[in-house]
Symmetry: C2
């Protein structure tokens, strides 16, 4: 594969080259990993395009596909190019829920200014994270203005998405009672904007009440000195009736512009890059335990530990000494 | 330090030697770590004494100190020797809540058949875990019949305690309404016996209701094929009035005897030893990132990643290559 040529085609906006490149970064084959690293490096050298990376979390039932379709169409209607990626560590098992999303996002997937990529079918969140980060970089080099990174919020996937996004959006459905829908405090704290969807028809009053509840909850969170005082904020939208979407985008750009003007946009990306550096080192180290000869020694010593012939500490010291040597 | 002599004194039941040995295993100095490993090895060679290791989790306010005091006195009253250890990763910060416990366990701490050891003052849960496991081994060699390992349930500390216990007990207070007290499902699933404390005075009806609620919740959990059908179970106790404690102990010994007779007692300890072996290997590997020259390289490359001079993936590969060489 000619990496220089591929990178040029991606920068020129060739859609098939972009898709091919994403397949490349998704592969775990050693030679593919090397080519992927070269490609990312080439693109970083040749292009300094930056998209707004929007992380979007929403559990099934909140209308996430409908929102992405309506929101994406609104953006392309403004002349913006939109890429949609997914972080869904469970997609391997659930049999591709995101593929279903793609068929449900019928209009957006036919839009020449939109690019929808299903989640890579891997159950290991660490692997999904790196591949998605690299796919984001590819989409940026390909000239997309907005990269939407969506997750259904399984396990730690919100954190993964928030750590690769410039903005983190939480999409919710109207709640039945006056209770907050069991959204974990940690997730709330990551959100820059909470969007309560389905503010239409019979659900509109419930959506407004839910929005007010969350606005109240957000006020109780620790202030963010780097953001304007009105953020984080809660708003209602209707993806179905396409209401509130332009307003939501306006808020997103307001916050992004503010952060850019005050150096926080770059600062956040720098901190994220350092975070992923640390994560990759840790994952790379732990991955060595899965390779021979260490893996075999782990099994062998594990059996000795289980039968009481040696202690966990002594056996661990043996493995660590073995790994010290290479 | 003469390790052979120290191990003999511990086995002979010398209390000061035991305390000195626990201080040794709590130290993170390299020479102390080596002596500690030798000591554990010597004791494993010379003694095959086994205590019943009881993990006890209870948040502040459930009456944990009072329970440990009453339960411990009941056990020593039966002629049993009881050691109390604590896993509290927050004790370094909170300024020794367990030390407070010790003064509140006034009768038990004066009992010649009891031994209470405050939590080591370290905020790193991994370190606390290893040191507590080693302290348990010391107490077993010293001839204690029951080792109580208590935790306030901060973060992952319940898992740590459950993974070093033969039995895991959850201590709760009566709930106000009909709602379960926000006990996480994962914690419930670890419990062999749930004890609802404060079944005395005005709170008795609430305690009985809470107990019935939890008994119902336990029935909804997955069955454990290795245990008698009536476990896990919920019971009421009053540590204050010393009611139900002997019955609770009876249930604990019933379950333990059953597991011993069916090989599950040994099986659980074997699985735990393997678990800790894996944990120690992983922690040991990650600890290398904190040592030179890797630590300095991490800082250096981290800055380059943050400023965009290199990518997280390329920088991580450099670190991993450096560590491969030793």
């Amino acid at each position: 594969m000619d990496i220089e040529q591929l990178s040029d085609k991606i920068i020129a906006g060739d859609r098939r080259s972009l898709a091919r490149a994403i397949t490349l970064v998704e592969s775990s084959r050693a030679d593919h990993r090397e080519q992927a690293a070269d490609l990312i490096e080439a693109l970083a050298r040749k292009s300094d395009r930056q998209a707004i990376r929007i992380g979007l979390s929403g559990t099934p039932g909140v209308g996430k596909s409908t929102f992405i379709e309506s929101f994406g169409m609104m953006l392309t209607g403004q002349g913006l190019k939109v890429a949609v990626l997914a972080v869904d560590p469970s997609s391997a098992r659930s049999g591709g829920s995101i593929l279903g999303d793609k068929t449900r996002m019928e209009r957006l997937s036919r839009d020449p200014n939109a690019f929808i990529r299903p989640s890579p079918s891997q159950s290991h969140l660490g692997g999904v994270a790196r591949r998605t980060r690299e796919a984001v970089a590819l989409c940026e080099a390909a000239g997309f203005d907005v990269v939407l990174i969506e997750t259904v919020g399984v396990g730690q996937s919100e954190t993964v998405v928030a750590e690769m996004s410039d903005l983190f959006i939480l999409l919710l459905a109207p709640a039945g009672g006056d209770e907050l829908q069991g959204v974990k405090r940690g997730i709330m704290e990551m959100a820059d904007i909470i969007l309560v969807n389905k503010a239409d028809g019979d659900l509109k009053p419930a959506a407004m009440r839910t929005c007010a509840d969350y606005a109240g909850a957000l006020r109780l969170l620790r202030k963010r000195p780097q953001d304007p005082a009105e953020f984080p904020k809660a708003m209602t939208v209707s993806a179905l009736e396409e209401n509130g979407l332009a307003k939501a985008w306006e808020e997103m750009t307001t916050l992004t512009d503010w952060r850019r003007d005050n150096g926080h946009f770059t600062g956040r990306r720098a901190a994220q890059a350092e975070y992923w550096f640390g994560q990759e080192v840790r994952q790379g180290l732990l991955a060595r335990l899965e390779r021979e000869p260490v893996k075999g020694m782990m099994t062998h010593l594990g059996a000795q530990v289980a039968s009481g012939q040696t202690t966990p500490t002594a056996a661990a010291a043996e493995i660590l000494a073995l790994m010290q040597q290479g």
